[in-house]
């Protein structure tokens, strides 16, 4: 193909490279048009046989011209050269070719093609194991290369939009629809995947309402924009989802791509049609191109794709292309498959009943054989008819019917809220398309009308003919030939869905836009069925490959699952906190720049000696209020709560209906009608939801309310022997004497002129006070506590030290020291199960056969026997029965305790509570160790320190 620019371009060009060769394009080029203008014929190698391939199409349908593109240091693989605007400085590389498309060292594979038909790999490499061969085969096949260093920013916005009428496609039908809808007072969105509106009007000359087609198109778009409607170019509506949601991918100049999520009352699909190839031997050679693509390169980019062109066709529309190419200076011969081509006054050479028997030229068409005659040419254009783009209609659940008149599938009946118009509906004439679009947009008056009669578009199918010699390509991108379809039929993969999966026809990144029709027509011919009987495969989104960065949008990286942050984070950073995430919150893990284990040990020891100050703000504070508050709390607790005196606190579990511990925590009774559920930090949303569900399901929602006030409070805990002295210095106005405020007591108080709360609960086993103030007073409280703590030798306590200290006491973390089977009695807490009357969540499950088994895994402590180092978390206890070693449980928490001078561990071990003192064997990653089962509480078992 000796393509050239018409006219020769002037002015500064855009510089780019292709497979290392420097080239120049012009503004407005796609990569494909620039490659053509630079005389590039081989743009890539085929997927399986490594056949040289050239550009076939000009848009989303392109099967061959996939390229990896690096621009501004960012590499994107497998872009369609036909849809990517050329940019200055682009480095473009062919895919599936090594080192270059023109010289590919795997090109020899094509010589073996007759030995590697569809299914070859799976049949041949099944023994001994496909996976032995897979890596090398995959390395030979496959497409572009991923740049593993590419970390694209999470900057693609997702935009939700609503409108009355969404029009997909800005060709004549779509524009007529948008224009009519706007005139009818509807809100309109118009999306089109090209850079300019107009669709086929940009390729075919027309006069509409006295204007040129392109003037008419841009006039309507200007009118729409002026009226406040939304027109998006370079935007592909790629999917229809539940309840009519249309997703569209917008490419934006100088800005990240956007994903539009559009809900419209009516969707008008005016997506046009795609020209399909003709099927003949070696119909995949570089230089063989869709006729309409040749027209597009001429009209849109000023590139004439050849000087001696043969145009093979089975329909009338191709003659318009032939004339245009001839006017541009090419010599054109039309090879019409029909016995009686249309009579015409123009001087184009036409051959009747002409089929292509052979194509000469491996890296580019040099000549073709027609009826035994050799015809020299540098470009072979093909037009096998047009396949309406019915994807959105089918994705929405619409059915198709086969129309013999146009040899294509068109919508059988429209889906509610969706209309298909124009070429997508099989209406190829301009006046018909305009009329249909106009009506779909609600136009009652006369539709826009073209000045001249429609181009003829008669077609006589020229479907693949099985049984002929030579390799005739059906699917270019996945290298599926007519013989593969015949093979599939022979092996009884006769349904189109089986054909697709067996041969991979239509499964490539182009999703068979140019190949599916020929494929199913071939299957129909092989199996002696009609095309209608054979049917189509299922259409699924997306219509084109959409980058995952666009689908994910900004919900990646830090925003994928944002951490919650403490009000005092910056204060802690100033004092050297190292932050980690705990239950969704970013919290100080420890303070200081020393080794983590040293800092954690220091904090724990100091806190046990004097007093530690800990930020406990994430702890749940769920207010349950109303006359039925006590009943709701009781129903959701393993322990009865409402029998507490006001101002007292009880520890307990919240169970699932399966009797499993969902969470543990404390509940404060403020008054008979007000309780505060203080659940674990990570379970606040879950506990709130459970309380709310039972509130609405079982209680009178007018008599009890559930309100999560966690975010409103900052909570700082003072824990350790000197904690009372510290809190006393805050002047909260509460009597801190142990008989006035004993362990597990609650008091409302004042701090810095506002209401505050004081709770005596302990997660360390030491005397502790939780002080809660409104967030606005958080900094003041921290300052006051730090000041009060200074003379006492107070230490800032991070989460790691707290986790260690609670483990010394055998206090569990629900979900860490329990699993999806753990019930309260597995932790030795049986009184409510055995004595409590009335219903509560999970009650019946505590009495099932399974719950009552005596070999349940129970919460215990473990003491390492062999070494003075912590046991690995996750190590399994093992026992051997009948010669088979099996797990009897596992280590759930494990720390080095400087307080005790030895490692401690919590574990769930089968029958553990009745085996205290026994030694068991543990294994972890091939290592074996021993441990002695101990009570979970390893420190201060009498609990003397709670008042110490």
């Amino acid at each position: 193909m000796t393509a050239r620019r018409i006219p020769t371009p002037t002015g500064p060009g855009l510089h780019f490279t292709f497979d290392g060769r420097a080239m120049t394009g012009i503004a407005g080029d796609t990569i494909a048009s620039a490659l053509l203008a630079n005389g590039v014929r081989v743009v890539g190698r085929s997927f399986k046989y490594h056949r040289p391939r050239g550009i076939f199409g000009y848009g989303a349908e392109e099967p061959n011209a996939l390229v990896d593109v690096t621009v501004n240091g960012r590499t994107t693989p497998n872009l369609r050269a036909t849809t990517e605007p050329l940019q200055d400085g682009m480095d473009v590389r062919s895919v599936n070719a090594s080192p270059t498309a023109a010289h590919d060292r795997n090109g020899f594979l094509d010589g073996f093609s007759r030995f590697i038909p569809a299914g070859f790999y799976y049949k041949t490499f099944i023994w001994p194991d496909w996976h032995l061969f897979e890596p090398r085969i995959r390395a030979m096949a496959g497409l572009g290369r991923l740049d593993l260093d590419n970390r694209p920013a999470a900057d693609c916005p997702q935009i939700a939009a609503r409108c009355d009428v969404l029009v997909v496609g800005a060709g004549p039908a779509g524009l007529a629809a948008a224009r009519a809808a706007s005139a009818a007072g509807q809100s309109v969105m118009l999306v089109d995947d090209q850079t300019e509106p107009g669709g086929s009007l940009r390729l075919h000359d027309a006069t509409i309402d006295g204007m040129s087609g392109t003037e008419w198109a841009s006039g309507i778009v200007a009118d729409l924009r002026r009226a406040g409607h939304t027109v998006l170019t370079r935007t592909t509506a790629f999917g229809v989802y539940d309840h009519g949601l249309v997703s569209a991918w917008q490419r934006r100049e100088g800005k990240p791509d956007a994903l539009w999520q559009i809900r419209a009352k009516t969707v008008v699909v005016a997506a046009g049609a795609i020209e399909r190839p003709l099927v003949f031997p070696d119909n995949d050679r570089p230089g063989i191109m869709s006729a309409e693509a040749a027209l597009a390169y001429l009209k849109l980019h000023g590139v004439l794709v050849g000087s001696r062109i043969v145009l093979a066709t089975n329909n009338d529309r191709a003659y318009f292309v032939a004339q245009a190419l001839r006017s541009a200076g090419a010599e054109v011969t039309v090879a019409d498959t029909r016995a009686a081509p249309p009579a015409s006054a123009d001087a184009i050479t036409r051959l009747a009943g002409a089929t292509i028997d052979a194509v000469h030229g491996r890296d580019g068409v040099e000549a073709v054989n027609i009826g035994g005659q050799r015809l020299e040419c540098d470009c072979l254009l093909v037009s096998g008819g047009y396949t309406p783009t019915v994807h959105l209609h089918c994705q929405a659940g619409g059915k198709l019917r086969y129309d013999d008149q146009i040899a294509a599938f068109i919508p059988a009946a429209f889906r509610p809220g969706m209309v298909v118009v124009g070429a997508a509906n099989g209406v190829f004439g301009l006046s018909g398309a305009l009329a249909e679009g106009h009506a779909a947009g609600g136009g009652k008056d006369a539709p826009p009308s073209p000045a001249s009669p429609d181009e003829a578009h008669a077609i006589e199918p020229a479907w693949p003919v099985p049984g002929k010699p030579g390799r005739q390509w059906i699917d270019f991108q996945n290298d599926v030939t007519l013989k593969d379809v015949e093979l599939a039929a022979r092996e009884n993969f006769r349904s189109v869905e089986h054909l697709k999966r067996y041969t991979t026809l239509g499964m490539a990144t182009d999703q068979g836009k140019t190949s599916n029709m020929n494929g199913l027509a071939a299957m129909a011919a092989v199996t002696g069925r009609t095309i209608a009987e054979t049917g189509t495969t299922t259409y699924r989104p997306p219509f084109v490959p959409v980058p995952l960065t666009v689908v994910a949008g900004r919900r990646r990286g830090e925003l994928f699952n944002p951490v919650r942050r403490l009000t005092l984070e910056n204060e802690y950073r100033k004092t050297g906190a190292v932050f980690r995430e705990y239950g969704g919150w970013l919290r100080p893990a420890w303070f200081g720049t020393g080794k983590a284990e040293d800092e954690i040990a220091r904090e724990a020891l100091r806190s046990r000696e004097t007093v530690g100050i800990l930020d406990a703000s994430p702890l749940g504070k769920i207010e349950v209020i109303g006359p039925d508050a006590g009943a709701l709390v009781d129903y959701n607790s393993y322990h009865t709560i409402s029998t507490l005196k006001p101002g007292r606190i009880r520890y307990g579990f919240m169970l699932t209906e399966s009797g499993v511990i969902y969470d543990d925590g404390v509940v404060s009774k403020v008054s008979d009608e007000h309780y505060i559920v203080s659940c674990s930090s990570g379970h606040v949303a879950g506990v709130t939801a459970r309380l709310e569900e039972w509130r609405q399901d079982r209680f009178d929602p007018a008599r009890v309310f559930v309100h999560n006030s966690t975010p409103h409070w900052a909570t700082l805990t003072a824990t350790g022997p000197r904690s009372r002295d510290l809190v006393a210095a805050l002047g909260l106005g509460v009597d801190l004497a142990d008989d006035a405020l004993p362990h597990m007591a609650f008091a409302e108080c004042r701090f810095d002129g506002t209401t505050a709360r004081l709770a005596r609960v302990s997660f360390t086993g030491d005397r502790s006070y939780e002080v809660s103030v409104p967030q606005s007073k958080a900094a003041a409280l921290l300052a006051a506590m730090t000041e009060a703590g200074r003379p006492l030798g107070a230490v800032a306590l991070g989460s790691e030290a707290l986790l260690l200290m609670r483990a010394e006491k055998g206090f569990i973390i629900a979900g860490k020291d329990t699993d999806g089977t753990t019930m309260p009695h597995d932790l030795g807490i049986t009184a409510p199960r055995d004595r409590r009357k009335g219903e509560f969540v999970g009650k019946r499950s505590l009495f099932t056969d399974n719950a009552l088994r005596d070999d349940r895994q129970q919460g215990v402590g473990l003491v390492a026997v062999d070494e003075n180092v912590p046991l690995p978390v996750g190590a399994h206890g093992v026992a051997t029965r009948d010669g088979v070693r099996r797990s009897i449980g596992f280590v759930t928490s494990s720390y080095m305790s400087q307080t005790l001078g030895r490692p401690i561990a919590l574990a769930l071990i089968e029958r553990g509570l009745s085996r205290i003192g026994e030694q068991i064997e543990l294994v972890h990653l091939g290592r074996t160790m021993r441990a002695t089962i101990a009570p979970a509480c390893a420190f201060d078992p009498e609990g003397a320190r709670i008042n110490g």
Binding site: Y241, D242, H243, L245, Q261, R263, E657, S658, A689, E692, E693, Q696, D697, D700, P701, G838, E839, K843, R844, S845, F847, T848, D849
Partner: protein
């Protein structure tokens, strides 16, 4: 993306909702009188109908549980009702 009608907030995206339970299930009580089989049925047996279904969903943004009638095949939503007493 489906749209569900919250009886209080109107049509909202399905991501704002959470499935609660199938409608019409009654918790067997009192625990002492409930057979293991009945309890297991309550906990685990779901009708999971193909076609029209009645389900309890919660609109998480307003916190209200409601009855949602929909078709599990076509995803057509056919009804939505508040569960508040005295309301239809």
């Amino acid at each position: 993306m489906q749209l569900f009608p919250c009886p209080f907030c109107g049509l909202r995206a399905e991501t704002e909702f959470h499935f609660g339970a199938e409608a019409g299930k009654t918790r067997p009580e009192p625990a002492a009188d409930v057979s293991a089989a009945d309890w297991a049925r309550y906990l685990h047996a779901k009708k999971n109908p193909k076609g029209p279904s009645r389900e309890i969903w919660v609109h998480e943004t307003c916190g209200e549980f409601f009855l949602l009638e929909r078709d599990t095949v076509t995803h057509e939503v056919t009804g939505s009702q508040s569960l508040r007493k005295g309301e239809p």
